[in-house]
């Protein structure tokens, strides 16, 4: 006997992600899934963001890494509630990993939760974890060919932070090409040029953060 089912194979993750999002919504937490390749500066951008925000909105962080707790220690030293997930090899976070740790954070006291995904330009974009938006980073030294090589992450993100722009004079990276290709893939993408080293561009990024966090219904 033939039975029609038509069921999404990743349904379990999508269902859990939707449940996570409902919990975050009820507690009034805006959630950003922060993604990039390894070493683009996700944790540095978080540190700069936390310093610039300076308590005006309450931030919490979930750190995802294959191993280690270096990132969580860096965030914790800024007196920000943080929980570390070690995926033990998995190249991305999924909705169930977030579900397991979310209650270790004081969610009622958090306005903006950053979920720092595992450094990887591919898989994190495939798995929703219950976020309101995805934001990605690309550092200048990674080169201007990345939007066309890894299109999905650029297509699914609401904002792109071009980090380490202080390195522009020392590389052959064509920042105009990065912006042009990223906007062709995703015309609604907000692009911020940032250097965590010099502090350039951090305030524009944080201003945009305020606007989207405060506009959450």
């Amino acid at each position: 006997m033939k039975v029609k089912v038509v069921t999404n194979i990743l349904e379990a993750n999508d269902r859990l992600a939707a449940e996570n999002q409902k919990i975050f919504d009820e507690l009034g937490v805006f959630v950003i899934n922060l993604m990039s390749g390894p070493g683009a500066g996700k944790t540095s951008v978080l540190e700069s963001t936390i310093k610039e925000v300076n308590g005006k909105i309450k931030i919490g962080v979930i750190e995802g890494d294959i191993a280690g707790d270096d990132d969580a220690r860096r965030i914790e030293s800024l007196n920000i509630p943080v929980v570390q997930i070690n995926t033990g090899g998995a190249c991305h976070l999924d909705a169930n990993m977030i579900r397991v740790v979310m209650n270790e954070l004081p969610l009622k006291d958090i306005d903006l939760l950053f979920i720092e995904n595992v450094g990887n330009l591919v898989c994190p974009a495939e798995f929703n974890v219950g976020e309101d938006i995805k934001v990605m980073l690309l550092s200048i030294a990674e080169g201007h060919d990345k939007p066309l090589k890894y299109p999905l992450m650029f297509q699914t993100s609401s904002a792109l932070i071009l980090n380490k722009i202080d390195l522009l004079p020392y590389t052959n990276a064509d920042i105009q090409k990065i912006k042009k290709d990223a906007l062709s893939l995703n015309p609604g993408l907000k692009i911020f040029e940032v250097s965590c080293k010099t502090g350039e561009g951090v305030s524009e990024w944080v201003k945009w953060l305020y606007s989207i966090v405060n506009n959450k219904p």
Binding site: V3, N8, E11
Partner: protein
């Protein structure tokens, strides 16, 4: 991408359908996998063959139907359909602003059970 997890997802869907409807055996499972879903069919079958042992789907065949990447170019408005998973340019005019309609499917759509 993550063929073991996806094989487990397929198996779960088949076994839950069996359990909920009192079927005792799965004979075949048809899945639709988009060319841009990042799944390697050979790896998926390998994972499925290993994981089905000892379940009601022990003798089941996994039948994979691959779905091409198709959509419309936002610039020249031409429809396209290709097997290249990483299409980023319109095959007609070369523009990279595309609306993708199919190619990311990851569905179980039919079971043969008894």
């Amino acid at each position: 991408m993550h063929e073991v997890g996806i094989a487990q997802g397929i198996l779960d869907i088949a076994l839950n359908t069996c359990k909920n409807n009192n079927y005792t055996k799965v004979d075949s499972i048809k899945v639709r996998i988009g060319k841009a879903a990042g799944v390697l069919p050979d790896s998926l079958i390998f994972a499925f063959e290993t994981m089905k042992i000892g379940t009601e789907a022990e003798n089941a065949t996994l039948i994979i139907e691959e779905v091409p990447v198709s959509g419309v170019c936002n610039s020249c408005k031409e429809n396209f359909s290709v097997d290249d998973p990483y299409i980023i340019q319109c095959p007609n005019c070369g523009n990279i602003s595309l609306r993708i309609d199919t190619g990311r499917e990851l569905n179980v759509y039919e079971l043969e059970v008894s």
